[in-house]
Symmetry: C2
Amino acid sequence: MIGIFDSGVGGLTVVRALMQQLPGHDMVYFGDTARTPYGTKSRETVISYAVENTEFLIDKGAGIIVMACNSASSVATETLREKFDVPVFEVITPAVELSVKISDTYRVGVIGTRATINSGIYEKKILEKNPKAKVFSAPCPLLVPLVEEGWFEKPETRMIVKKYLHPLKIKQIDTLILGCTHYPIIKNLIMHKIGKKVKIIDSSIAIANMVKDYLDETPDMEKILQKNGRTEFFVSDYTIQFEKTAKTLLGGNIKLQQTKR
Amino acid sequence: MIGIFDSGVGGLTVVRALMQQLPGHDMVYFGDTARTPYGTKSRETVISYAVENTEFLIDKGAGIIVMACNSASSVATETLREKFDVPVFEVITPAVELSVKISDTYRVGVIGTRATINSGIYEKKILEKNPKAKVFSAPCPLLVPLVEEGWFEKPETRMIVKKYLHPLKIKQIDTLILGCTHYPIIKNLIMHKIGKKVKIIDSSIAIANMVKDYLDETPDMEKILQKNGRTEFFVSDYTIQFEKTAKTLLGGNIKLQQTKR
């Protein structure tokens, strides 16, 4: 089946997009809520967590790994591909490819956690695809806690989003990558503050499209994946608040299972 | 020596208070930055982390354990006292005792993380000491990330503090316990928003006073503690941002050492 992991429940926006693109496919999700967030932590620590999460998903029967976490995708992709024998998808490349395709002015903005932005990964990958591009990045560390509190429409959230986006706005970007799985939840607010003309790239939709394209082109893999429409959700720490956030992000009912501590 | 732990670097406000009350005492600090924060996690997970942190500090030579973390103090005190042979101090009782002493109207407010407030520990302990007290609590989950971002004086922080304190203000509390080690950093803002007449209890100062009183009354313990004025700071994950926050909280220079991963 398809295995998806994230530092917490944010990656459920990717599960939602995968369910839309690949209906009927069995999935297993792991959210590392006992150690969430990854976005404030060091490269080495995030890599070691990503390896453990992948081992857990493969144990549960995953034949494909989807890293639904920008912080992990920024630093752990190479290690996972070296270490494991299954295809590993990360959330950055699909958004990068789409941005290069749709930007007219080659002025691309990226927002994400501190770990993602500090890694410089989006800038590096965009410039590899289009050396003429200008990439402007802004870390937005308060947006994850604001989304997890459910403060989607509060005036404080609006002010903070405006403040974070201001440096990108004055650079007149024409495309903005949402480089964090939590951000699609406040996509409308972000669109409003950055300006309606700026094209927004939702990395959860971009990665789901890439996984679908891969399966369309790899019938041998598509054939062996289970398709009973079952999805299991595991977390390393269960709380009511995580389940509440999970329902918001997945847009429906969900039962989180606590892994062995 | 004196061993202090916290979920992250917030507990350095307790170290600062201990240094003022017990100058010259050797200390060893452990901040569990690889798994921070604790305030959003479950009781069972926080207890298991507290046990591991205490083992680390005792290994490093701690003869007294100070839990400089409200979330851990709320749930793990009993387990640590059963499991370990050294005195264990928690950050809640000293603040509770002070509140009972200084409140005139017995209307006491408590602010903290979601884990601390949900545990109901402050209310329980205050009512044990004074059954006539009325305790009003408010979880303030966004204040830790705001402090860690260094947004001490920003208008957004002012608005959020005002919003969080409003339910306590209308209850006309006369005493407010800062039930999280990060909050002393924005004490002035909190005082301003709750009203100048409300007495503020800084739990980091309260616990430092209690440790000092204990050592004054326990000369055998006081005698065996090392006093070379040395303090070591360990973290389970080193990043520049954690060190920056650490400097803010301790109010001086500091070198964080990464523990073995």
